[in-house]
């Protein structure tokens, strides 16, 4: 309750810095960059689903939208600072409108899942069909299933001739993730964040308390989309090409799997899930014996069946059951656990 920052935040910050520094000695920075970007995408869904209770099956839409916005803006503008900002803004605004439409219509659960998925598919199908030269925004041709290559990548603000790439891009992405992580931490400790958690727990009660649930869900949804958009823009810089595959069902499924495996209702879970599974996929990609869709599919089924809370909450409660003198109290309802640090008030 008192003060927004805690001791464990400083600890997390130091560990993260050490991690950012040490990891390149084990994994190439090229691979690490994408792990970090996926971590941010995972965190964006973890925020709105795990804490806000908004079941979004189309988080990849905002990721793709961010990437495309960056690519299109970068081609037209010829530098990277404004495109980066647009890549955050456009998905955010889109999600505000889209979210308002859904939440003011009182769509919940399954229907929310259906609509978010359908909107992603609309984007996927639409972008896929824009191969013709008539589909262009300014100087940027959308390129259909071929995607958009050859746009101006990240440069030092104000210096269009100094590009940020390779190792530097990794450090930029890692610091961006760190900033987003602490932004999310802060947000969840403000009254807005706490009430968002309340909405996840019981929407009716929160509205009976006098809070406008619809507006709050819309705002949270937009924040999640903006973070996903930032991740998408970074992805565009990493891949140096954007394709409709960013909007695909497969991409959507993966974001959801990251969150389930890592653990909903935690901040670390989706990041660890994303980075871990993306790395696993990278390792699997080096062999041809087993298709990695089989592994990803099985992982999702197994987690839903046997470990629905995900790894981070399971590990945390194991840790606590060992170290706490008091027996661990188990919540009867699933998918409701939060990391203690995130929501513990008093």
């Amino acid at each position: 309750m008192i003060g927004l920052w805690k001791k464990q935040d400083l600890l997390a910050f130091i560990i993260a810095l050490i991690g950012i520094w040490l990891l390149p000695t084990m994994i190439s920075t090229y691979t690490l960059t994408i792990l970090v970007i996926y971590g941010m995408l995972g965190l964006s869904l973890g925020l709105i689903w795990g804490f806000g209770g908004i079941l979004c099956f189309g988080q990849a839409a905002f990721f793709g939208l961010g990437a495309y916005t960056y690519a299109i803006a970068a081609i037209n503008i010829g530098e990277s600072t404004v495109p980066m900002l647009l890549a955050i803004l456009v998905p955010g605004v889109f999600a505000t409108l889209f979210g308002a439409m859904m939440f003011y219509g009182h769509l919940t659960d399954v229907y929310l899942g259906v609509i978010t998925l359908v909107v992603t598919l609309i984007l996927f199908k639409f972008i896929n069909s824009t191969a013709g030269p008539q589909y262009a925004i300014g100087h940027a041709r959308l390129g259909g299933f071929n995607g958009i290559p050859g746009f101006h990548t990240l440069n030092v603000p104000g210096r269009t001739d100094i590009f940020i790439w390779g190792d530097t891009l990794y450090y930029v992405c890692a610091l961006a993730l760190l900033v987003v992580f602490f932004f999310v931490t802060w947000l969840l400790r403000t009254s807005f964040g706490r009430i968002a958690i309340g909405i996840r727990e019981n929407e009716t009660r929160i509205s009976l308390m006098g809070y406008d649930v619809r507006a709050r869900k819309t705002i949270l949804f937009a924040i999640g989309a903006a973070i996903a958009g930032l991740a998408g823009a970074l992805f565009a810089n990493w891949g140096e090409i954007v394709t409709p595959g960013l909007f695909s069902l497969q991409q959507n499924a993966e974001v959801i799997i990251w969150c389930i495996v890592g653990g909903l209702g935690t901040r670390f879970g989706p990041i660890i899930g994303a980075a871990g599974l993306a790395y696993l996929k990278f390792l699997l990609g080096q062999q041809t014996l087993i298709d990695n869709a089989i592994i990803m599919g099985l992982i999702l089924v197994i987690f839903v069946l046997f470990l629905p809370k995900g790894l981070v909450p399971a590990t945390t409660s194991l840790w606590q059951s060992i170290y706490d003198r008091w027996p661990v109290r188990r919540s009867g309802s699933r998918r409701r656990t939060r990391s203690r640090s995130a929501t513990h008030h008093a």
């Binding site: 706490r194 309340g198 727990e201 009976l208 308390m209 006098g210 929501t343 008030h345």
Partner: protein
């Protein structure tokens, strides 16, 4: 006593102000008339019980006032403002505390967090904490302040819900079956809490339990087939033959 006369020149100045009024409130579900042309008035700091057999329309009426249903016809006024068709959060924002029939609490959060969130709607962070702590003390919930709601007994959860209803300092409290499923000790506790509420707020209680209604001894509105059958003090209602017929007679 409020200055009721300031608003309505014809009313006598000594009369307490009407805080809640419904005019011709009607609610239909398809062909079923669940609430039938209800005219209802509640005065400042009045305690009123709504009774009636199952399906008599008291819960529907309750939901129409609290914004959970939008009435088909008629009007609702709160402190002179028309609130017909408002959403629950708009009604609650006026300073109306609402407790629904099924315990509506935040199961995954602690007692303190539950009450703090309710307080935060009307007070800044720090004051909300102070008020939440106060209410927790008042309701004798301190020993479980940090426990998750999901693990508490039914009676405790009901008490927490009352806590989050009153922490915002409402001038009108709507309680749907607050004593349902509670032990007699809890019920006694509950009637004391309700009694306490009437010092600052008007209270409507929807209730089945006649014992409980007697213990808080108030004016009773009897619903029957969606309409108001009669309105009187609890003793008058209990001795009324019509009421005994439609309600008490059936129950006994």
């Amino acid at each position: 006593m409020a200055v009721g006369g300031a608003r309505d020149p014809e009313a006598q100045p000594i009369m307490p102000e009407t805080v809640l009024e419904t005019v011709g409130l009607t609610m239909r579900f398809g062909g079923v008339v669940a609430s039938d042309n209800v005219h209802f008035k509640l005065k400042e700091r009045e305690l009123r019980c709504l009774i009636g057999p199952n399906g008599a329309g008291k819960s529907t009426f309750f939901k129409c006032i609290s914004g959970l249903h939008k009435p088909t016809e008629g009007h609702v006024f709160m402190q002179g403002t028309e609130t017909t068709g408002w959403l629950p959060h708009q009604i609650a924002s006026l300073g109306v505390g609402i407790k629904t029939q099924n315990p509506n609490v935040l199961n995954g959060l602690s007692v303190f967090e539950n009450i703090w969130m309710a307080a935060r709607r009307f007070y800044p962070n720090e004051e909300a904490s102070d008020r939440a702590t106060d209410i927790i003390d008042k309701l004798a919930l301190s020993y479980i302040a940090k426990a998750e709601l999901g693990q508490l007994a039914h009676g405790e959860r009901q008490r927490v819900e009352l806590g989050l209803v009153v922490v915002g300092n409402p001038w009108l409290v709507l309680l749907d079956e607050p004593a349902a499923g509670m032990s007699s000790a809890d019920v006694e506790h509950m009637s004391r809490i309700i009694d306490d509420m009437t010092r600052t707020a008007a209270v409507i209680v929807v209730e089945h339990d006649m014992q409980f209604i007697r213990s808080i001894a108030s004016t009773v509105t009897v619903f029957y087939q969606g309409a108001v059958l009669m309105e009187d003090h609890v003793d008058g209602v209990m001795s009324d033959p019509t009421v005994r017929n439609v309600y008490l007679g059936k129950k006994a």
